[in-house]
């Protein structure tokens, strides 16, 4: 039988993308839950709880799916096309970033049929470099911002960080939430900051950079917090919700990503607004990536199976996908010398 049937919002509302012009009006219908700190708290704490063991068991079960032959080839290409190819190092240089951009445009020099990645993800000061290097390739420039990864700076500094990246040509902004505020229960503060950042994503031409909101799940610590954070950030206007910075011990896991997929599914059911999901950090192998795609497939279905709605924040993953891709096409196992190192 078919795997997942695509889902439609029981609300009957046509789905609108979170980054589109109609989303704000939809969110306004839920304005009462964000009207005050108390209302927001009541709403978030009224969300269904998450049983950690059950969640992890479900994620693990989906991890046992066996994706073979044609399905595997499809999944590998899809995964490549969903990659936010990332370099976020203090040692980054324009040369390194240009090299990564070239890789993103043409991941496998020996096989031009390999899809290009979704975006190149860099620090704000490298956004301009990346934008120039990518040109009209169609690959987005994603810039982390808001004093990434800790987010510990004055709001004015964070907003300036965002504005700077947007001005430099960033198509997407990956912000971090104020985990301190979230963990101490100052939800409205987190909410308002996201709103402010979203405004800062606006471009003079009337468009706007898409906003990805990073939770840093490893610091939120509990699944209940991750579910609350998902709703909080989606209510605030996030276009994508993202697991982690890649800079702490626990980053994306199948379980926390599954939970966020459930959150975007439920959010669309409630509001008709569709939000993307980006697991980041720690996804290094094709096997891992395919497990995530299975989760997407069996949790939210076709509607999220595109780079517009699901991304991998990764760097080394790409080469593993390329090696698997070569294996599928040649029948021989590939090796690291047959993919490019940047």
């Amino acid at each position: 039988m078919s795997p997942l049937s695509p889902l439609t919002a029981p609300s009957g509302l046509p789905t609108v993308p979170a980054h589109g012009p109609d989303a704000a009006a939809r969110l306004a219908t839920l304005a009462d839950v964000t009207a005050s700190d108390a209302a927001l708290r009541r709403f978030l704490h009224g969300l269904p709880g998450v049983d950690a063991v059950g969640l992890e068991a479900r994620a693990a079960m989906l991890g046992t799916r066996s994706i073979k032959t044609t399905a595997k080839a499809f999944a590998i290409d899809l995964a490549i096309s969903m990659i936010d190819l990332t370099t976020l190092e203090g040692a980054d240089t324009p040369g390194k970033v240009r090299s990564l951009c070239a890789k993103g445009v043409s991941p496998d020099p020996t096989d031009r049929s390999a899809p290009k990645v979704a975006a190149i993800c860099v620090y704000p000061d490298m956004a301009r470099i990346a934008k120039d290097a990518l040109g009209d390739s169609g690959i987005h420039v994603a810039s982390v911002a808001t004093a990434f990864p800790a987010g510990r700076a004055a709001r004015s500094v964070k907003l300036a960080d965002v504005a700077d990246a947007v001005a430099a040509g960033a198509d997407e902004i990956d912000m971090v939430i104020d985990r301190g505020a979230f963990l101490s229960g100052r939800y409205m503060e987190v909410f308002e900051e996201i709103r402010a950042v979203k405004q800062a994503c606006a471009r003079p031409d009337g468009g706007a950079a898409h906003l990805k909101v990073i939770f840093e799940n490893g610091e939120l610590s509990t699944y209940d917090n991750i579910r609350r954070c998902s709703w909080l950030t989606m209510l605030a206007g996030a276009d994508f919700i993202k697991t982690s910075t890649g800079k702490v011990a626990v980053n994306a896991t199948p379980a926390n990503t599954l939970l966020m997929l459930e959150a975007v599914r439920d959010f669309r059911d409630t509001t008709g607004v569709q939000v993307g999901v980006k697991p980041a950090g720690g996804i290094r192998t094709s096997r891992d990536a395919i497990k995530y795609l299975v989760m997407v497939n069996e949790t939210v279905g076709d509607d999220w199976l595109s780079p517009d709605w699901f991304r991998f924040g990764a760097s080394s993953l790409l080469n593993d996908l390329l090696m698997q891709r070569q294996k599928l096409s040649t029948g021989r196992y590939s090796g690291p010398d047959y993919v490019t190192v940047d």
């Binding site: 039988m1 795997p3 269904p48 059950g54 499809f74 076709d302």
Partner: protein
């Protein structure tokens, strides 16, 4: 919900059958050797997913039962006199060989039973090995088990097991019996005899003394002859309540100690504050695990009225993702119904559900043309009076009822002659304990369902049978106490 196209279709991922070397025919395993039935009768074991004949097996008659019981009696003297440490080592050997051969046994089990390889591989076989490993460790520690200073075995155990978990039920029966020093004559179910015969080979590989384990394949007649044999000291049965009652009558007035693990009609109770996504998983696992061929299946969903629609929507959405088909495909969630007879029973009861006015729903799913199949199904608008709310369907069919208060949930959950298991889904700890205290069921899963472990006693209240299997409690059934 209509079947919709998917951009990500999974290609077939069949587990290889080559790992199983099936002979065209199998004999009875008596006194350490395979032999034909005394009267030469045989029957065929089919693969329920294809109706293909897997092998021919001997049909044990009264003479074979007698021979097996005699062999077990003869072996009992030596086996029961062995130091516990030595018995333990045999069981440890068996556990290890099962682990070594687990892929082969998993494939065999899926072939003969129809269950998905994902379950036979990830649930049945690991539990089988774990069960032998657990009871192996008891064999030399019985004096510490709380049954007196020197608890003695009973003698020859007659064990009759069902077709839903052929090898796992064998393990539940054989491991504690041998650990306690008994010898056994085991009859696997008529439709799933093969894994028990492979187990006989494992006993041989382990060097188990002849006659300690005897396997008689056959039908209900064979089982009745075994249970009724005078040389038997202990009867252990897992199966239907109807047959369980007949066995209880048969052994009445004899010295035979009896344990019965029978049917159920478990309530899976979902409160409005449940962790909804996990509850939906638990409902699905509760009733669709092993095609619902589970005595402790959560076949009655009791959902609080205030969240009925929300839970049902989520449940239907989730059911639409269940993959029904080839048991050997590694992505199959629901395999074949075990037999034509069982399929007929499920079909009859679901027809009765519709006739009694319940509303039937199943996701669109293509069922294979050969073999025995039933789509995952749920009924809404079910009342306590409906047959589908009272009778054990033993198939992938869920009856949905509602309640308003915890007290009403308890009352409805307990309103059944059965009492094997129950599920509770709520985030409120004190409510879990309040409910667990009042549910008349031998196993209560709170915020989980269908979990099994060799250390955890399993068994029912009321007409779900008596005695416990698993854990320290499981030893009592095979010791001469009380």
């Amino acid at each position: 919900m209509d079947k919709m196209s998917s951009v990500f279709e999974y290609a077939p991922a069949p587990e290889s059958r080559a790992v199983v070397d099936l002979a065209p025919s199998y004999g009875l395993f008596v006194d350490g050797e395979f032999r034909e039935a005394a009267d030469g009768r045989v029957f065929k074991s089919l693969s329920p997913s294809s109706e293909e004949v897997l092998a021919e097996v001997a049909q044990a008659g009264a003479a074979d039962v007698d021979a097996a019981v005699r062999a077990a009696r003869t072996a009992f003297t030596g086996w029961s006199a062995l130091p516990g440490t030595e018995r333990a080592k045999y069981l440890f050997r068996i556990a290890r060989i099962i682990q070594e051969r687990s892929r082969e046994l998993a494939v065999l089990e899926s072939l003969d039973n129809g269950k998905p390889i994902r379950e036979s591989r990830d649930v049945d076989l690991p539990l089988v090995a774990a069960h032998f490993f657990y009871y192996a460790g008891w064999a030399d520690k019985l004096q510490h088990a709380g049954f007196g200073a020197d608890p003695r075995p009973l003698g020859v155990a007659a064990q009759v097991i069902p077709w839903n978990f052929p090898l796992l039920m064998l393990a539940w029966k054989v491991a504690p019996a041998l650990a306690c020093g008994n010898t056994v004559v085991l009859k696997p179910a008529e439709t799933t005899p093969l894994s028990a015969l492979f187990f006989a080979d494992i006993c041989r590989q382990a060097g188990l003394p002849k006659g300690v384990v005897n396997i008689l394949t056959g039908d209900g007649e064979t089982g009745a002859a075994l249970v009724g044999h005078d040389g038997v000291d202990k009867v252990a049965f897992t199966g239907s309540t109807e047959v369980g009652k007949a066995i209880a009558r048969t052994v009445a007035g004899t010295r035979k100690k009896v344990t019965l693990e029978l049917g159920g009609k478990a309530a899976n109770i979902v409160f409005d504050d449940a962790p909804v996504d996990q509850a939906v998983e638990g409902i699905v696992n509760g009733i669709f695990f092993n095609q619902g061929h589970v005595c402790c299946a959560g076949s009655r969903l009791l959902v609080q009225e205030s969240v009925r629609d929300e839970v049902l929507d989520a449940l239907k959405r989730r059911m639409s993702t269940l993959r029904v088909g080839d048991p050997l495909d590694k992505n199959t969630d629901i395999g074949a119904i075990n037999s034509a007879e069982q399929l007929a029973r499920i079909t009859e009861l679901t027809a009765a559900g519709e006739a009694e006015g319940a509303e039937r729903w199943a996701p669109a799913c293509e069922l294979p043309s050969a073999g025995y199949w039933f789509a995952p199904t749920l009924f809404t608008g079910v009342t306590q009076a409906h047959r589908i709310a009272r009778e054990e369907i033993f198939g992938p069919v869920l009856s949905v009822l509602t309640f308003r208060t915890p007290a009403e949930a308890v009352e409805k959950a307990n309103n059944t002659p059965y009492g094997l298991s129950a599920g509770i889904w709520t985030e409120k700890g004190s409510r879990i304990l309040w409910m667990a205290d009042r549910l008349r069921a031998g196993v209560v899963w709170a915020n989980t369902f269908n979990k099994f472990d060799p250390t955890s006693p399993f068994g029912g209240y009321k007409e779900s049978g008596y005695g416990r299997e698993g854990g320290r409690h499981g030893l009592e059934a095979y010791l001469d106490v009380v």
